[in-house]
């Protein structure tokens, strides 16, 4: 595998995202709107909101990631670019990694940066902000990597977007558990580190395994 394939695909996807510009904005708007629905749903008392704020932010982040994931390979699959990419000398796992990195930079990273502002709106204690941002920084790449498997599996399926949520939301549950646990530990003055380390372990496992599964799924989709 030449490193050029990775860099070229990453640059292309980032350029496409920047020129079209819509995906990042849509995902961020979705994230903000979902979070701002909760004060209407559960009541605007600061105690209630600060108690469930971590859960709200994390669930909203999962849904926002899901929203953009069904497009990860879809356009390339429909116009035939995917066949060319798979026929190129670049290793399919590297293609998946490049696509995932581009997806995370355009949708995951903005969520991480925006999260303290939303935490402020939900009256979450300031001590929990580092754990929230670190947790999201470790967790959102897992969402992208695991989601890439689902996105590759549903290529060409009927109602692929709905199906995608059924396939990968169950796999997101461990990320949600440790992400929320880290924030709550930090908010109550306990150590957030164990939960963050577990998230880091999940990230490394996803980074090592998910590209192979997603590449296998892409190959069978292109058959």
């Amino acid at each position: 595998m030449k490193a050029g394939g990775f860099g070229a695909l990453l640059r292309r996807d980032l350029r496409l995202a920047l020129r079209q510009g819509s995906d990042t904005a849509t995902v961020l708007a979705f994230f903000v709107i979902v979070v701002s629905l909760f004060p209407f749903g559960v009541g605007a008392e600061p105690q209630t909101l600060s108690a469930i704020g971590a859960g709200i932010l994390w669930v909203a982040a999962l849904l926002a990631a899901l929203l953009s994931l069904d497009r990860l390979f879809q356009a390339d699959y429909e116009d035939g670019t995917l066949d060319y990419l798979l026929a190129s000398p670049a290793a399919p796992t590297m293609l998946v990694l490049a696509k995932c990195l581009a997806h995370w930079l355009t949708t995951g990273l903005p969520l991480v940066i925006l999260s303290p502002l939303l935490a402020l709106l939900l009256h979450m204690p300031a001590a929990s902000y580092p754990a929230l941002m670190l947790g999201l920084a470790l967790g959102t790449p897992i969402l992208t990597l695991v989601g890439a498997i689902g996105a590759a599996l549903v290529l060409g399926a009927r109602r692929g977007g709905v199906l995608l949520s059924l396939l990968i939301l169950p796999l997101y549950i461990p990320v949600l558990i440790f992400g929320v646990a880290a924030v709550e530990a930090a908010a109550t003055g306990r150590a957030a580190q164990p939960h963050l380390l577990l998230l880091g372990a999940l990230f490394l496992a996803a980074l090592a395994l998910a590209p192979f599964v997603a590449a296998a799924a892409l190959r069978q989709a292109a058959e």
């Binding site: 549903v154 399926a157 009927r158 199906l163 059924l166 549950i173 599964v213 069978q220």
Partner: protein
């Protein structure tokens, strides 16, 4: 043994084997479930703490066991289908999925009925219960994905990959009661220091597990035959359309 299994990869030979095995597995299933059911429900002793409600165990434990075993069968046949590119593996995996989903639902349902008198709630978000619920979602996802494509071969291949991904959940289900402090009781049959359950209860329970397993094999064979017949009808229809 390996050679024998390999020989079954031929669909015609599999159908011959299935026709011969079906009456035996069905008869053994009826025999074991009838004997184990009557023994467990009427003759086995009530529990010292749980009283008569312990009898839910004779359905709950075999169902939960089968929920895991069906998934293992599904993942194993899916792996075989992906590795050796053999369509019979896909047929067997597709046939096993709805059975496994039903067993999982049965385990969850009987568990809820048992939970109400013992824990005071139908549902608690405990590690064992949650991981079994996720197992159920994996079954649903598998069934939905394998039916989502116009080309059944494509659906079968995509679903096979999903089945293998879902295997990460199996050890979590099995060891959830050891890794976390759960309300659900720890393993009491398969453990290093031998079963902690009394022989008077263990015997009917094992009989029920055996019966459920034979029942599963009988239904699996039936469903695999139906899947093969559906594939054949589809091929014939396509040939009719082409001519």
């Amino acid at each position: 043994m390996a050679i024998r299994f390999h020989a079954l990869a031929n669909p015609a030979r599999f159908l011959r084997f299935a026709r011969r095995a079906l009456p035996w597995t069905a008869a053994l299933a009826i025999l074991c479930i009838a004997a184990g059911g009557v023994w467990g429900l009427f003759f086995a002793p009530p529990d010292k703490f749980q009283g008569e409600s312990v009898r839910i165990m004779y359905v709950h434990v075999p169902a939960a066991w089968m929920a895991l075993f069906c998934y293992l069968c599904m993942a194993g046949t899916s792996a075989a289908a992906l590795i050796w590119r053999h369509p019979l593996g896909h047929v067997l995996a597709r046939a096993a999925a709805p059975i496994g989903a039903c067993f999982t639902l049965l385990a969850l349902g009987t568990g809820m009925l048992w939970g109400k008198p013992m824990w005071g709630a139908y549902w608690v978000w405990d590690a064992r219960l949650t991981s079994v619920l996720i197992l159920f979602f994996f079954y649903l996802g598998y069934i939905a994905l394998s039916n989502a494509f116009d080309d059944p071969g494509r659906g079968a291949r995509a679903a096979a990959i999903l089945a293998l991904v879902g295997v990460v959940n199996l050890p979590i289900v099995k060891f959830s009661v050891d890794w976390w402090n759960t309300l659900h009781q720890p393993a009491s049959i398969i453990r290093r220091d031998g079963p902690t359950i009394d022989a008077a209860m263990l015997a009917p329970l094992l009989l029920m597990i055996l019966g459920f397993t034979f029942y599963y094999f009988a239904v699996w064979i039936l469903r695999a035959r139906a899947e093969l017949a559906a594939l054949r009808t589809r091929a014939l229809k396509l040939r009719l359309l082409a001519s």
